[in-house]
Every structure is written in C-alpha cells, then in structure tokens.
C-alpha cells in the first residue's frame, strides 16, 4: 500500500493537506532559488574561468537597483510564507468549539489517555473518523511532546500546565504516535499508536472499555472524598465559591483583576489555592499538591466542567452525564 521510498507521511487529518500544500510551496520556492544560484555559479565559473595568470578583470560596480531587486523579492516571498504559515498555525492550535475532549498525561516513558466516558488506555489512542478531537495534555514529570506525523501536528506536554492540540481524522488506520521532545533514557520507547476507527467500530470499542464510571462521575466521587464539597457548595453558603457554571467564565479576583476559569486556572486553584483567590473569599483552602495525581486532577476538572455544560453542547458520542445534584 505504501511506496518503497515515500516522501510524505500519510495524510490522515483535515490539516494534513494544508500543511503539505505549504510544504510544497516552500519546496518550489527553494528549488527555484537553489537552482538559480547553482546554475549562475556554474555558468560564471566556466564562462569566466581564469585563462592566464596575469589577467586582472575590470571591476564591476555594484548596482543599487539590483541590490534592491534581490532584497525586495525575497522579502515579499517571505511575507507570503509568513502569512500563509501563520494562518495554518492558528488553525492548528485553535480547537473548534465542537471538539471532543480527551485527556492525556505523559510520564517517563508512557502516554496515559483518559476518555470522557471513563475509558483509559496506555500508549494507544482510539478515535472516531470525522470528529474533531481536542487533547488536553499535561506531564507528571519532564517535558514530553505529543506528535502524530499523519495528522501533521504536535505540541509539547508540559509539567504544571495544560497544552492542547486538536485534529479531525479523515482516514481510518493505525498511525504512529511519537514523543518528540527528548525526555530521558527511554525517550525513543515513548511511542504508541493512534487508531482512527469507523464510527460503528468506535462505539463498540467505547462500550468495551468503559469501567468504573465516566470521567466526570469519577471526578465527582473525588470531589466528595477529598471533602471539596464541604466548602464548595452549589449555593452561596460555602466557605469557598460556588463552582456551578463557573467554567469558562471570567472570575473576579481578590485584590483586583480577573481571570478566565479555564483548565489551567482550576488546576492552579487546586494545587496552589492562594495564588489567585476569588474576590470575597478568604485564602483558607489547603493545597492539594501531592494529594491528587495528574489524572485525578483531570477528573476533577472534568467534573467542574460538567457543572457548566449546557445540555445542548453535550457531545453525542461520549456519554457525558450532566449530574448537577446527586
């Protein structure tokens, strides 16, 4: 099915084509200039080769016009590259709003994946064809990088923060997943496979993998067992702010300023509660640093997210229950 010596990896996402077009444009420009330079040099070298030891060529004076031409033309070309490249970049790093969320935790040297339905995998990622998938990723030790050549995208996976990539697979198959940021001894062993599946097969896979409740429901259990619910009540009576409907909204901070309650803010608030305190509350929350794993953090975040999910936007395939009250 593949040629003996392919020049392109498989194109298996909506973005692969745009990246490849950009690549081909740059190759055309590069080949043109390389050949221009190479042929000029070869031609001049032969045409003006030294014929006698005593010859002294007449000086040729530089031309401002010529200098301007070969300054302005490359400049214009690079601006095309810049504009085109920036727009592709923007698309690559801006997940569409309807993207389905999957959580990834990297550690030396494996990838741990959690699906919304509670399915977990290691070094494998199963996704359906034709759905936008957004990965929210973090690392529990050093910097890793989630790289799927067939999707033409990658992003570093950082400890202490969430980064994202997204893709919309277009072709069923099994594709390489690499760690692309050097992460220590078994860096080259931190690889896996991405399986792009037909929707029906994907449903079958989902059904087979779910055990022990959805991500949000696991988060909710944690929320109870860590006693978060003692202070964060679904009304204004708690010592901590009410978390219902908070996700994705701007939050007023004590001492001025606002912050959007995104994944990174919730993460910070759990691990470092005093860093950005909500206006009107005391910094009384203890830190949960060392008490929750990266995966549990993601479950808690998913639970808090679920408190804000309008029912309409609930993804169809992932059975995310919206349980506000128990």
């Amino acid at each position: 099915m593949r040629e003996a010596l392919p020049l392109f990896p498989e194109r298996a996402s909506t973005m692969a084509g745009s990246v490849d077009s950009l690549y081909i444009f740059l190759i055309v420009v590069s080949v043109f200039f390389s050949l221009l330079i190479a042929f000029s040099i070869i031609y001049f070298a032969i045409r003006y080769r030294r014929r006698s030891e005593t010859e002294r060529p007449a000086p040729v004076h530089g031309g401002l016009a010529l200098e301007l031409v070969w300054t302005v033309i490359p400049f214009l070309l690079t601006m095309v590259m810049f504009g085109w490249g920036a727009s592709v970049y923007f698309e690559l790093y801006r997940p569409p709003d309807d993207a389905m969320n999957i959580y990834v935790v990297g550690k030396q040297w494996m990838w741990k994946v959690q699906h919304l339905g509670g399915q977990r995998e290691i070094n494998e990622l199963h996704i359906p064809i034709g759905r936008s998938v957004k990965l929210t990723m973090t690392s529990q030790d050093v910097i890793h990088d989630f790289f799927v050549p067939a999707f033409r995208t990658k992003a570093d996976v950082l400890p202490g923060r969430y980064t994202n990539i997204w893709f919309k697979p277009t072709k069923p198959g099994k594709y390489h997943l690499f760690c692309a940021e050097y992460c220590g001894t078994e860096h080259s062993g931190m690889i896996g496979w991405v399986y792009v599946m037909e929707p029906a097969a994907y449903e079958v896979w989902l059904a087979g993998g779910a055990a022990g409740g959805t991500l949000a429901s696991n988060g909710e259990k944690l929320f109870q067992s860590l006693a978060c619910s003692n202070c964060h009540r679904p009304d204004l009576t708690g010592r901590g702010p009410n978390l219902v409907g908070v996700f994705g909204r701007p939050v007023q901070l004590e001492g001025g300023g606002t912050v959007t309650a995104d994944e990174n803010y919730i993460r910070e608030s759990i691990l470092n509660p005093a860093a950005k305190v909500v206006a009107g509350y005391q910094p009384v929350m203890p830190t949960f640093q060392g008490l929750v794993t990266e995966e549990e953090l993601l479950q808690l975040i998913e639970y808090i997210k679920s408190l804000s999910t309008p029912p309409a936007a609930t993804p169809a395939a992932a059975p995310t229950p919206v349980r506000r009250k128990r």
């Binding site: 923007f90 790093y93 997940p95 709003d97 993207a99 994202n164 996700f247 994705g248 959007t260 995104d262």
Partner: protein, 99 residues
C-alpha cells in the same frame, strides 16, 4: 576623552541627591499607589542610575562610542525582557475554553 576632571563639588552634589532619592523611594514605598508603586520605584531607581553612570562613571564626558555602547547594552536587555514578556503575557489568549 576623559581629560575632563569632575570636581569634588559635583560629586558631592550627586552624592547628596542619591541619598535624598533613597529616602524618597523608601518613603513612597509605604504609600499605597496601587500599580504606580512599581513605576515610581523604578523611575527613581532609573534616575539614580543615570546620575551614577553620567557623573560617577563620567559617561557625560565620554566619547560618543562609549555612550553608544552602554545605550546598546540597555537596549538589548530591554529586548530580552520585552520579547519574553510578549510570550508570558499573551499565553492562554488563544486556546479558547472550547465548550
């Protein structure tokens, strides 16, 4: 170049100004100016620094090249800080919260 000898009187004047400014900056530190505290503190520090460089270090009487050298250094430093902050401050602007 620095054949110009700076008089003791000039030095004493600069010294006195520096002392006064140290007092002023410390005092202002106790007044709540909100965000302006940093600005005022840095402005005073920069002014003190300029006095030291111009008079104690004779930059006011030095060659143009020397003056350029030192300006270039601060320019470079501000580039380092500005471009780094360009990243730090604009993180999270794009990755919308999705749903």
């Amino acid at each position: 170049m620095t054949d110009h000898i700076v008089s003791k009187k000039t030095y004493a004047l600069i010294f006195a100004t520096l002392l006064v400014l140290t007092g002023v900056t410390t005092a202002i530190g106790y007044v709540d100016l909100g965000r302006m505290n940093v600005v005022v503190a840095l402005a005073i520090a920069a002014f003190k620094g300029v006095l030291v460089v111009l008079f104690f270090m004779h930059l006011a009487y030095s060659r143009r090249l020397t003056q350029l050298t030192i300006v270039a250094a601060f320019l470079w430093l501000s580039l380092l800080i500005a471009l780094t902050l360009a990243d730090i401050w604009s993180r999270g602007w794009i990755v919308g919260t999705g749903k």
